[in-house]
Amino acid sequence: MTPRSLFDRMSLLPGRLGQRLGLLDHVPEGLPDGAPPPRHVFRWDLDKTYLRTEFDSLADLARSAVENAADKQAYPGATALLRALHQDGHRICIVSGSPTQMRQVLAAKLALDGISYDEFVLKNNLKNLLRGRFRALRAQIPYKLPAMLQSRLGAAAEAETLFGDDAEADAIIYCLYADLIAERVTLADLERVLIASRAYDDDAVRILDLARRVPKYDAVRRMFIHLDRRSAPVGFRHYGPRLVPVFNYFQAALVLYGDRVLSARQVIFVALEMLDSGQFEIGHLATSVQDVIRRGRISREVALQLAAEAHEAAHSGALSGRNDLPPFEQIAHAFRDRVRELGPVDHRADELTATLDYVRLVDEEHEHRRTRRRRGH
């Protein structure tokens, strides 16, 4: 139960101070007693997924660490998308690899953007450093996977959607998590993956325990990988159609519209935020629609249905006060043109045929990371 009295709040202070300094772990508060389980949980990474962060070099890292909240930039459309999801009553859980010492500035940035969230977990790297666990400083799976399992233990939903990026191992971690809670990956398999991930023994024991206790259900409906590095989308094909690489958040909104998670009006709001950023024009959004159709991530029918519903939404005021935009008919025409330009060709996404070999994927990811380090990326 959430403490309400002054005494209760005072009693939390030492713990919060410890968390801020990085001496104590932040454990997400689950649902309050008696609260109904959430319908849909959206798990978001922050760096390179929500926030435009450069940490390819030490200078980038240093710059990122001293930036204040106002200097940090969200990707166009991500804020509108997160707001829409929260307004619909979905649970927003943020799991980021940023250090706990950045909690204040990151929380301030989210507040500036008007983002409300239910959980916000950061990586306690100071603790890793003090314990001499240098492997854990860069480790992804031994950090993110238990954070997500812990979160699900506190608030299990029947549906989950995950947002990550192509900079690190998000695709592997998210699929592993999805397969674990759907009981497609056994504990023995997980143990092998943790060994390949070079997890410390006690961390591995803790993760296996969480995996044993986590509520099992095939809950993960979608995983979005934001192509921050502009990686080739085909590199993610083996993860199957549930994982959608996206170049921008309009594409994510389109897929979520197709999944009946977002309304046409909410998709319009994502599009408007992207146009307002000055980094996108209507043509870019129309091309983004064509791209997801071409990759078989949404059908032409869904795109046309969206155009029809967006037309209604525009007439009912979704575009009111937007004198800077051309009439909606003109915008819809540009979108329909892009769909028509594809000709009569039928585009379908390749279906997942084989189960994933996570040990191999982890090994490949390590090799990939080593290569990137050698090249100075």
Binding site: R230, A232, F247, F280, T287, Q290, R294, L342, H347
Partner: protein
């Protein structure tokens, strides 16, 4: 945003290398949109294999394409929905701003000529080619000179040649960042009165222009020396010269191979020179240059080499982007209008109508 239409099916290595080049260009040119024209299924299969920006590369379906060895006019008549025809149409309809193709040169030029209007004041279009030279030029230390026309207009009048000079100069200014490119007429002697009538008349007209840095006539041997930055000639002569220069280069390479095989001393000599040869090769690599522009139309068209790989295509797209960003066509039209205005003000003299076709 500049929209660059790319014939994805044209070229010896199409569509893979073309799509790859366009994908790279989408990352390098954030203010451009690339429109790939070709078989949508094939392009849709290739594009996700490459790093690119999905909001800046789109596909426009075209069910057929013109083969490299097809006769241009016949092929375009038989395949009205070929990728080059559809691509040129898109630009003509205002759905694209520039065109890049590595496909059949004749078909590409014809497709543009049939759909795009000429710039005001331009009587004939010119296809330009670049040739590596001894001297360098411009802010980029460009080792290439521009030769035009190399085949778009077989017989050129004096006015056509003046137009070519204006177009070539504008292009060199923009692409080579050469503030005042040296423009010369190709003739059989450096004297003003030498050459066929159109060349002599063009010389007389160009001498009076202040817009161009006209240095007079040059001879064939001056081309590889790099005496001029822009070499102006008729399409017939230009094509013969270009082919001959290419032939000489190939012969030199063959002789070097022969020398390499024949004698150990010659082989050692070539090995000693190998790093210098490699450097020369990289400097004069046509793939760096992108392609040859077709000048005179209301839109830029960059004809990439038929053997273009992804790198050459990316560079050709960058050149098209540069032409759009620098308003190449606008500059040409403005200079042509200025020349026209001056010609109208000037009373006609005997020199305008007659010439002395002297021979060396």
């Amino acid at each position: 945003m500049h929209r660059i239409v790319v014939d994805a099916m044209g070229g010896d290595h199409a569509p893979e290398e073309i799509v790859h080049g366009a994908a790279e260009a989408s990352l390098a040119l954030p203010s451009a949109e690339i429109i790939l024209v070709g078989d949508a299924a094939e392009l849709g299969r290739l594009l996700p294999r490459m790093r690119h920006d999905g909001a800046r590369v789109r596909v426009h379906h075209a069910p057929t394409f013109v083969e490299m060895d097809e006769k241009p006019a016949e092929a375009l008549a038989a395949k009205p929905e070929s990728s080059i025809a559809v691509a040129a149409d898109l630009v003509a309809r205002g759905e694209g701003d520039a065109l890049v193709s590595a496909g059949n040169t004749g078909a590409s030029v014809l497709a543009c000529a049939r759909r795009w209007p000429l710039l005001q004041g331009v009587r004939r279009a010119a296809l330009a080619a670049v040739y590596p030279t001894e001297l360098r030029r411009g802010e980029k230390d460009d080792p290439f000179s521009l030769i035009l026309d190399v085949g778009a207009t077989i017989e050129a009048s004096a006015e056509d040649l003046v137009g070519f000079a204006v177009m070539g100069s504008a292009y060199a200014k923009l692409v080579s960042q050469n503030r005042r490119p040296r423009v010369a007429l190709l003739s059989n002697g450096t004297e003003a009165g030498k050459g066929p009538a159109p060349v002599v008349a063009a010389h007389a007209a160009l001498v009076e222009t202040t817009e161009l840095n006209f240095i007079g006539n040059i001879e064939g041997l001056d081309i590889p020396r790099g005496v001029a930055d822009v070499v102006v000639t008729s399409g017939f002569v230009g094509n013969v010269v270009l082919k001959m220069l290419e032939g000489v280069s190939e012969t030199v390479v063959r002789l070097a191979r022969y020398a390499h095989k024949e004698r150990l001393a010659w082989r050692l000599g070539l090995i000693a020179l190998s790093s210098a040869i490699d450097q020369l090769k990289s400097i004069t690599d046509w793939q760096q240059y992108g392609g040859a522009p077709l000048l005179g139309f209301t839109h830029p068209f960059i004809k990439a080499h038929g053997r273009s790989n992804a790198h050459a295509i990316t560079n050709a797209i960058k050149v098209a982007h540069k032409a759009l960003a620098g308003n190449l066509c606008g500059h040409i039209a403005r200079t042509m209008a200025e020349l026209d205005e001056r010609a109208n003000r000037r009373p006609r003299t005997a020199n305008d109508a007659t010439s002395d076709p002297g021979a060396s």
